[in-house]
Structure formats: structure tokens, C-alpha cells
Amino acid sequence: MLKEKLEDVRREALAAVQKAEDTQNLYESVKVQFLGKQGRFSALMKEMGKLSADERPVFGKLVNEVKDAIEQAYAARENELKNKELTSKLSNETLDLTLPSPTHALGAQHPISMVIDEITNILIRLGYSVRTGPLIEQDRYNFESLNIPKDHPARDMQDTFYIDERHVLRTHTSPIQAHVLESEKPPLRIIGVGPVFRCDSDVSHSPNFHQIEGMYVDRKVSMADLKGTIAYFVREFFGKSLKTRFRPSFFPFTEPSAEVDCQCPLCTGRGCSMCKQSGWVEIGGSGLINPNVLKVAGVNYPEWQGFAFGFGIERMGIIKYGVEHIGLYNQNDVRFLRQFSV
């Protein structure tokens, strides 16, 4: 009688296990109904008292067998349902990760700043350090200390903005050199950098552009040292295989003077529109510091000698980053600037 009841429980419980569609249902229809405190097993166990002492262990064993069987079936089903439910949950939670993500704006430095950083980082490796100076400069530092006296035709080389009789917007970064020669003791390896101004504006000239220059003062300084330094710079900045060329020129503050060309980085010297088919692009001016400049600053020549070189930063950006024309630098168009977030 009791045994039959047990068999009924086994059959019904196993049927309920198979019937359950989800873990919740499984729990309610099997765990609660059969295995719980109020379940059918508990009820059967209570009825065990009616059995004789001989029957009890036999029946007890049987009960345990049935219970184990149900529990095993339960566990298996539960595992199965859990997996099914997880799969379905994961599937429902699928996102289209190709949709645009929330914008966290990417900042950028101006290409002019990028050129400045690139150049200074190269020269720093050669022991140079950066100096700056006032943008409104005394005539004395902008011109006279640099061997450009008043009424000298060399002043025509630089169209100057005047503030008053004695002050100009600096026309080049060279007054930084003049200040350093006066205030610091040689030997020196200095970078001067910043905005400069020329009273000139067209497609290829901006009235407010940027220069960077290097100055080296030591006991023995030669054109070969200058050329070697610039050639190193060119290789680091534009490309390892590119050659440097000097052309004679004139700057009042250097003697001998040289214009610096480098092999066109775009075509590596083969000729293209950037270099007007010549294979070379002009990148700046250089020379040995004119003894007059050293003497005016109180530096004892020829005990101390030096060289200096300077580049236009906008031009470097045009050559290296492909900036198409100088006007783009000051429009501050965000579509242009965003390209420099590297």
C-alpha cells in the first residue's frame, strides 16, 4: 500500500520534472510539491511510523532511492533549464555595438604646437634648451644687436610693424638670441621659439607666423658643425634618408650665411609639385654668428664663436603634414584642427 504510494510519488515527481518549463516552475512543481517540508515525501515519511520494525529499514532504503532519483532528475533538469534561460537572457541583451558610442570629445594640439614640440624634442637630444622672449621687442634687440643698424637696407628684408619709435613687433625669433647672449654665459645651446610678425599678407605670407631657431656658442664652431647639426635635424624630422643642402645667402647676423634646403620629403628628391620639380625644398636660414653680434652682446670673439639656424614653423607643417596653405593655420576650423589629435 505504502509502497504503491511511493511509486506514485516517484512517477508523478519525475513527470513533473519533465513537465517543468522554467526553473521557477520546476521549483514550485517539484521542490515545493515533493521535496519541501510540506511536500509529498515528508507526508510519506510521517506514514512510515505505521510500518513494522522489520519493514521500516527496507522501506526507508526504498524511499531514499526514490528521493535520490527525483533529486538527480531535478538537478539535471534544473541545469538544463538554467542553461536555456541564460542563453535566452544573453540573446535578449545583445547590443548593436556598431551604433555610435557616447561622444567624449578628443582634444588636439594645434599643428604649429606639434611642429614646435617635434623640433624641440630633436634638438633637446643635442643638449639644447628652450628660451622665449617678448613679442613687442625693442628696436635694439630686434635689429641693432643683430647687426642691422637703422637705415640699413637689410631692414627692407623684413617688413616691420612699428609700435612706436623704439618698439616693434619682433620680426624674427633672433632677438631671443640677443637677449641670451647678453644675459647668459657661453658655452650655450639655445632654442628660441614663438610668434613673429611681418607687415606682409598674401597666399603664402601671414602677418603673424611662427619661427624656431637654434643657437650654439662654443670655443670652436665651424660651418661643418652647423651643416652636421642641421643634417641630423632633417633626418630626424623629415626622414632618415633625406639629404641637406646649403646655398650661399645673406643675413646680417650671420657670416658666412646659408639657406638650407632639404630633399623634398614628399618625392624624396625625384621632383613633385611641392618642390616645384626641383627635388629640394627650402626650409630655413643659417650661418656662423657674425662677430659683430657677439661683440655687441659683450661676448669675447674669437675666443667664443657660434652658429645659428632658423626655420619657419608654418612651412614645416606644410611640408610635413601636408597643410595646403598658410591660411588654414589661423581659421581655427574644428574640422581642420581635429586632424591633429595624434
Binding site: T132, L135, R247
Partner: protein, 823 residues
């Protein structure tokens, strides 16, 4: 300067370069005379020929156009539509056939003009680049052979080089001068063949009485008369030479003075002797206040300092710059006085600059002419004038040269050459080059070293120092021979300018906040700057210098760029305007730059520089999030607050606060009076954040709301850089307590927060606002602000009772200090 190859051939053999002009160009450039352009005139007129108008008819559909049938000797008759009116049947004309490229890169193509095919163009002198302006098409004489290439017909078989002569090389500002340089480079002879001068026109001294009081400004003055010239057009050969290098022919006498200037580099002037009042000329300073009218009719007022050439009554020329209208060569001039002089460069330059007159003459004098070539040029001109205008050359010429310029020798050692150039210099090679340049070379002593005394020729006024000779040798021997070496290291490195270090750092911090760096000009329109900034005093309250007087440029390019910036905001707004106009509806810009103050103590004396203050600024506009996502609920300006706070923290500045002006009057005019706050860092005002005033936004036609900020970087930089100071975090749990306070709307939340922090004791680690609420059961004029207080102890776990008592302490402090109540 333009140089004709044909003309050069007169003095030095350059014949091989007609076929290969690029070679001469490279040669000159590598010697320091940069060739900026080469114009091969024969090649320039390819497919341009002499044509014959067989028939001139009317264009069927255009009244103003004619339809011509033109023969060009090839047997083909070209149908050409022409817009000019001055031609007729049988005329000889210049025809540009399809494929021709006229000056200005104008390519001629087979085309349809108003439905009628046109196979070429009948050219005007302007279109051919022969004249700046011309009327109608160019009609040639009947003798012009049909079909002859136009270049050949015109005798355009020359090559013209455009050379950038650096200011030191005034000796190359002439054909002979450049020929001399080319001869030196190539090691060829250079010769100036001069016709003999025959004096037959009486005495120059009887024609004009000359005195030179101002020898300080005019060390040499030569003059010679020519009697009985016949003024008229110059012969073709002279016209062609002048025109080839860009000068217009005027008349034979004036043309000769120009010709000799272009030949020898010595500017000349010719006076009409009739107009020399009292028969007297003096080279002297002007009279203060007198007026002088130049040849081209410009009237200028002289001050008494300028050097003039004067007759018995008045100034007749501005020395070395321009002649007077009162004494120039006329069509009926017969007797002339030729002036050739050496005026000092400074005198000419000062006067030319003062009056803004630059002539071919002043250009050369200002760069320095050769005092030793003055008489030569005068005589050359006299002979040429006689040749092209007739007349008789006067004897007894003037040559006032009381103190001849002496050239001093430059001492240079072989060791100096080697040291400066960085490679061993050959002794004989150096001497050879110096001799080729025309220097007197004396070898002084030998031993371990060689020392020379080099005396440069009088035309090389740029050679003074030994390094000048180092350059001469270096360039002639070839800069390509300079090796590449690196200077030795071992020098003690020095520090960077702290401002540069800080700038690099700031740029990266702003970039990290998602901003793009803008760079604007340091100058701006004074009008626009004033309009934007309004009352400048208000900026002072924000820690930015109140600039009363912007620095004004004496010679601005335009009124749009006439003063230095006094704030970065106006130019950043220009950038926003540009972006808005170009459809960039979202943008985040920052700029680092200087502002300037024109007001300085003590006036504009030397050493007393203009004050420059270093600023940083931001301008942002537009919503950042993408359209499909939720937009931020906070106003745009809060983004700037976050950016600035992040930057301050990145700089190690943790003590900062914000204060909002309660009085709208103290808010700068360009900001929204209710959306502006001042930043105080470590007790000092540093700058502001705010929203652009809607009226100004409207006026600037910016579509989006703009938030702005400007800070004083000089102040921010103080005490930088700082090292982080590390503290160990607590290992014990943090306990939170929330306090919601009902408070008046106009009570700044930051004031309450400060009191909470102060009253919360050391265990209060953090205070956050987590809810702001208006409306509902909060009365009008009030709002609810909920603060979350986070307590934590380094030494142990906090007890509830302890935290509750701290909370009560905070509530007590705020409710006592402010009209607030706990909700």
C-alpha cells in the same frame, strides 16, 4: 632684378647658356645669387605668328564681334572671332593659334564663340604681355612677313633671368656687375668696351657753376654737359634692351641714363640746362618748409635735412631718389647736364623711406654704389647720348671728390679659413679665388700658418671682416664641399624657460579635456575688440588685467588688425563665427596667448617694455552627444567648469572655489549676467567662466549658445611644477549621510557646501550634490539641494552614533548660518 642674357654677352662669354639657361641659373643660385625665374622669350611665343586678315565680316549672332578669315602662310585660312574694333581687311596682325600659351598661362584653344567656331585669337599688346594696358588688337606694319613666328619677328631671342640680389651685393645690380661675377665664377675674362669720348661742346664749367657744400652726404659728384642734343625716341636696340628687363622707353636722353644705370649700376640724372636758374647748381640740404614736385608730379614738403640738388632758386632734384618736374628733359631740350654721384646710402635711404618713394636709383644708392665708377658712368652716358641724340660733349667736366674712399686690407689666416669652414683649405686655391674676385692679394708671412692681406675692389663694399672672405671662398669653392660633423657634447645642459615648460604641459591638459587648440593673430580690430569687451574694468575683478589702452600698431596692414589683443575672447569669438558659418555646429576650442597693455609707467623709453600678460581661454558651443542618445541636462557652461577644475587638479591645485557675482552690473558686458562665475585658486582670482551674452551672440550671427572662459596663466604658473604628495587611502568602510536642504534660489550652493565642509570635521572626506529640485512641494523662490556627505576614518570603523552626531553638527552649522531648513 631682371638680367638679359644677350646684354651679358657684351661683357663676358655666356653664349653656351642660350641653349641651357637652367645651367646659368644653377650656377648663380649656388653662388648666392638666387635665380627666382627664367623667362625664355623665344619659347614664350610658341604658335604665335604674324597673320593677314583676308576678310573681315560680322558675327551672325553678335553685333560687337567680328568674324575674320586670317591667313598665316600655311595655306590654311583660319576663321577667328574677334571682339576688337580697330582692325580691317588686309591688316597684318598677331595670331595666337590653338596650343599657344600667352602670358598669365592663358592657353588658346579651338572654341565656339556664340555658336561660331573660332580657331585662334588676334592679340593685343596687353595680351602678349608687351604692355600693361593697350587698346584694340596689335596691328603690325604692312611689311611684316605673313606666317613669321612672332618672337622671331620681334627679335625675341633673349633669355631674361629674375635674380634676387641680397642687400649686401649691390655690385650685382647691373649687367656689367653680374657679368663680372659670372666671369669670376667661371674664370673667364670680363671686358667693358668703351667708345672714346670727344669733347667738342665747350666747357661744362661755363654751362653750370657747381658747388658741393654737403660733401658729408655726397662724397663724390661728377657732372658733364652735352650741347645741342635732339630729344626723340631711342633706337630700337636700346628700347628692346630696356623693355626686355622691364623698363619703359621714354626718350633717348632719359633712356641713356637708365641704360647706363642698368649697365654699370650707377644711377644718373640729366637736367635741362635751360631750367637751371642762375646757371648754378649746388649739392646741399633742403630749405625747411619748401615744397618739391617730383618728375611724376608728387608734391612733397621738405624739412631741411634732405639732400637736394639746387639751382639758384630752388630744389631741382631729391638727391639720388628722383628728379624735379621743374628741370627734367623736355621734347625740345637742347643742352643737358649729366649728373653722376656717390650719395651715402644712409642719406638716400632715410629720405626715400620718409617720403615712401623707391626708385631704381634710390634702391641702388641705398645699397651702396661704387664711388670709383662715378666718372666712368658719366662719360659712358655722354658718349651714348651723343650717339643716340646727337649734340656735342662738353669738356672741363666736374669731379668733386675731395676725400677719395680708401679701401683697407683685411687680414686673414689660412687657419681661420680651415677652422670656420670645417675642412682644410688649399692655400693657392684661396689666393686664386680672391684674385678672380678682383682683390689685391698679399701674402704676408708664412711659417706654420699663412696670413694674407686682402684688399677688396671698390665695387665690393660688403667685404670688411675676415669672415666675409671666409664666406667668399666658401661659396665660390662650393657649399657642397662643407662636410657634416656634429659639435662635441659635454656641455652642461641648462633649464628650459619655465613658461615654455608650462605651456607644453597646459596644451596637453587642455587637449585631455577634449579641446582643440586654436591660434589667432596677436592683433585684432580695435573696433571689434571694444564692441565685444565693453567695459574693460569689469575684467579686473576676475584676475585679468584691466587694459585701458590697447597697444596700437603705427602701420597696421588693415584696420581689421590694428591693435594688440587685450583679451583672447574677441578673436576666439571670430573663430566660433567662422565655424558656425561653415556648419560646424559643435566645437571645443582653447587658446594660449599674450595680451598687451599700451599704458606703461614712464613713457616709451628704452628698456621700458610693454607689459604682456599670458592668458588661456576657451570657447565651446553645441551639444556633444550623438542624436540618438540623451542630451546632457546641465547647461553648456558647466562643461568649462569641469574642464578648469580638472586642469587645476592636474596642476596639483586643490584649493579653489567659484563665486558668482550677485550684482549683474559687475559681470563683463559680453557675458550672460546670470551665467558667469569667477574662479579663485588658492585665494587669488584667476579668471572666469560664463555664457556669451545672447544679444552679442545674435549680433555675431552665431547659431549656437557659446560658453567662454579666460584665465590668467601668469598667476596660474606660480609655484609650478608641483610634485604629487601621496597619502595612503583608508582601509575602513566609508559611511554616507544625505542631507536635503530647502534654500532660497539665489543662495549659491557653493556657500552652503563650504560651511558643510568646515563644520563636518576631519572625518568628512567628501561632499557631493546629488539632487537639485524646484517646484512640487518646494515653495516658489526656493529650491531643494541634496548633499551626500561621506565620512571615513583612517584608523578604524566609524560608529553610527559618531557619524550621526557629525551630521547633526553640520545641520546645525548650516541652518544657523543660512536661511535653510532640512527637508
Amino acid at each position: 632684378m631682371k638680367i638679359s642674357l644677350k646684354w651679358l654677352q657684351d661683357y663676358v662669354d655666356v653664349s653656351e647658356f642660350f641653349a641651357k639657361p637652367q645651367e646659368l641659373s644653377n650656377l648663380l643660385t649656388s653662388a648666392g645669387l638666387e635665380v627666382e625665374g627664367v623667362e625664355n622669350l623665344a619659347k614664350a611665343f610658341d604658335k604665335v605668328v604674324v597673320g593677314h586678315i583676308l576678310e573681315k565680316g560680322q558675327h551672325p549672332d553678335a553685333d560687337r564681334l567680328s568674324l575674320c578669315q586670317v591667313a598665316t602662310g600655311s595655306g590654311i585660312v583660319h576663321q577667328i572671332v574677334c571682339g576688337a574694333q580697330n582692325h580691317k581687311q588686309n591688316d597684318r596682325v598677331v595670331v595666337a593659334l590653338p596650343g599657344a600659351v600667352l602670358p598669365g598661362n592663358f592657353e588658346i584653344k579651338l572654341a565656339k564663340v556664340r555658336g561660331v567656331e573660332s580657331g585662334g585669337m588676334l592679340c593685343s599688346e596687353k595680351e602678349l604681355g608687351l604692355k600693361a594696358e593697350s587698346e584694340g588688337i596689335f596691328i603690325l606694319p604692312e611689311a611684316a612677313p605673313i606666317g613669321k613666328p612672332f618672337a622671331e619677328y620681334m627679335g625675341f631671342d633673349d633669355v631674361v633671368f629674375d635674380i634676387k640680389v641680397t642687400p649686401n651685393r649691390s655690385d650685382c645690380l647691373s649687367h656689367f656687375g653680374l657679368a663680372r661675377e659670372i666671369a669670376a665664377i667661371l674664370g673667364r675674362p670680363c671686358e667693358l668696351k668703351l667708345d672714346t669720348l670727344t669733347e667738342g661742346g665747350g666747357s661744362t664749367r661755363e654751362m653750370v657753376k657747381l658747388t658741393v657744400p654737403s660733401t658729408d652726404l655726397c662724397p663724390r659728384y661728377c657732372g658733364r654737359g652735352v650741347r645741342g642734343v635732339k630729344v626723340g625716341p631711342s633706337p630700337d636696340w636700346m628700347k628692346k634692351r630696356l623693355e626686355a628687363v622691364g623698363l619703359n622707353a621714354i626718350n633717348n636722353v632719359v633712356d641713356v641714363t637708365n641704360y647706363v644705370m642698368l649697365e654699370l649700376g650707377q644711377p644718373l640724372h640729366a637736367f635741362d640746362v635751360r631750367e637751371i636758374k642762375g646757371g648754378k647748381l649746388s649739392v646741399d640740404r633742403s630749405k625747411a618748409g619748401e615744397t618739391f614736385t617730383t618728375l611724376d608730379g608728387t608734391e612733397i614738403k621738405l624739412s631741411g635735412t634732405e639732400l637736394t640738388i639746387r639751382d639758384g632758386e630752388r630744389a631741382v632734384a631729391l638727391a639720388g631718389i628722383v628728379g624735379g618736374k621743374n628741370s627734367g628733359i623736355q621734347d625740345d631740350t637742347q643742352d643737358i647736364f649729366i649728373e653722376a654721384a656717390y650719395f651715402t646710402p644712409v642719406a638716400v635711404r632715410q629720405t626715400a623711406r620718409k617720403f615712401g618713394i623707391e626708385t631704381d636709383s634710390s634702391y641702388r644708392f641705398a645699397r651702396g654704389t661704387n664711388p670709383d665708377a662715378v666718372a666712368l658712368a658719366m662719360n659712358r652716358a655722354a658718349v651714348l647720348i651723343q650717339k643716340v641724340a646727337g649734340g656735342n660733349i662738353c669738356g672741363e667736366h666736374y669731379d668733386n671728390y675731395p676725400d677719395p674712399v680708401k679701401r683697407t686690407a683685411i687680414e686673414i689666416a689660412l687657419s681661420t679659413l680651415t677652422e670656420r669652414l670645417g675642412y682644410p683649405v688649399d692655400r693657392d686655391q684661396f689666393a686664386t679665388w680672391m684674385e678672380r674676385l678682383g682683390c689685391l692679394v698679399e701674402e704676408k708671412k708664412t711659417g706654420n700658418d699663412v696670413v694674407w692681406h686682402i684688399t677688396p675692389p671698390s665695387f665690393r663694399q660688403d667685404l670688411h671682416l675676415d669672415v666675409d672672405l671666409v664666406e667668399e671662398f666658401g661659396r665660390l669653392n662650393g657649399y657642397q664641399n662643407i662636410p657634416e660633423t656634429l659639435p662635441p657634447t659635454g656641455m652642461m645642459p641648462t633649464d628650459h624657460d619655465p613658461q615654455y615648460i608650462f605651456e607644453v604641459r597646459l596644451r596637453r591638459l587642455f587637449q585631455a579635456q577634449g579641446l582643440l587648440q586654436a591660434i589667432n593673430y596677436a592683433f585684432i580690430s580695435s573696433k571689434f575688440q571694444e564692441r565685444v569687451l565693453g567695459s574693460y574694468e569689469k575684467l579686473a575683478g576676475f584676475g585679468l588685467r584691466a587694459i585701458h589702452q590697447p597697444v596700437t600698431l603705427m602701420n597696421p596692414l588693415t584696420e581689421e588688425l590694428n591693435v594688440m589683443r587685450t583679451s583672447l575672447v574677441p578673436s576666439l569669438l571670430k573663430s566660433v563665427q567662422h565655424n558656425s558659418r561653415h556648419g560646424n555646429a559643435v566645437g571645443r576650442l582653447f587658446e594660449l596667448g599674450f595680451v598687451f597693455d599700451g599704458k606703461r609707467g614712464g613713457g616709451a623709453t628704452e628698456g621700458n617694455s610693454y607689459l604682456q600678460e599670458w592668458h588661456g581661454a576657451m570657447a565651446i558651443w553645441g551639444e556633444q552627444t550623438d542624436l540618438w542618445q540623451k542630451k546632457s541636462s546641465a547647461a553648456l557652461v558647466y562643461e568649462l567648469k569641469t574642464a578648469l577644475e580638472n586642469i587645476l587638479k592636474s596642476l596639483g591645485i586643490t584649493k579653489f572655489s567659484w563665486s558668482q557675482p550677485t550684482d549683474a552690473q559687475s559681470v563683463p558686458d559680453f557675458l550672460h549676467p546670470g551665467q558667469c562665475a569667477q574662479l579663485i585658486a588658492e585665494g587669488k582670482p584667476i579668471g572666469f567662466i560664463g555664457t556669451l551674452h545672447p544679444v552679442l551672440q545674435d549680433e555675431l550671427k552665431i547659431r549656437e549658445t557659446v560658453a567662454l572662459s579666460e584665465i590668467n596663466l601668469d598667476r596660474l604658473m606660480q609655484g609650478q611644477p608641483r610634485s604629487p604628495k601621496a597619502k595612503s587611502p583608508s582601509n575602513f568602510p566609508a559611511v554616507e549621510r544625505d542631507i536635503a536642504l530647502q534654500m532660497p534660489k539665489n543662495l549659491p550652493a557653493a556657500d552652503v557646501e563650504t560651511t558643510i565642509r568646515k563644520s563636518g570635521g576631519d572625518l568628512l572626506q567628501e561632499v557631493r550634490v546629488f539632487d537639485v529640485f524646484e517646484g512640487g512641494n518646494v515653495p516658489t523662490g526656493q529650491r531643494s539641494v541634496a548633499f551626500r556627505l561621506i565620512f571615513q576614518d583612517l584608523k578604524g570603523t566609524l560608529e553610527d552614533a559618531q557619524v550621526n552626531s557629525l551630521r547633526d553638527q553640520v545641520v546645525k552649522a548650516v541652518t544657523e548660518k543660512f536661511p535653510v531648513s532640512v527637508r
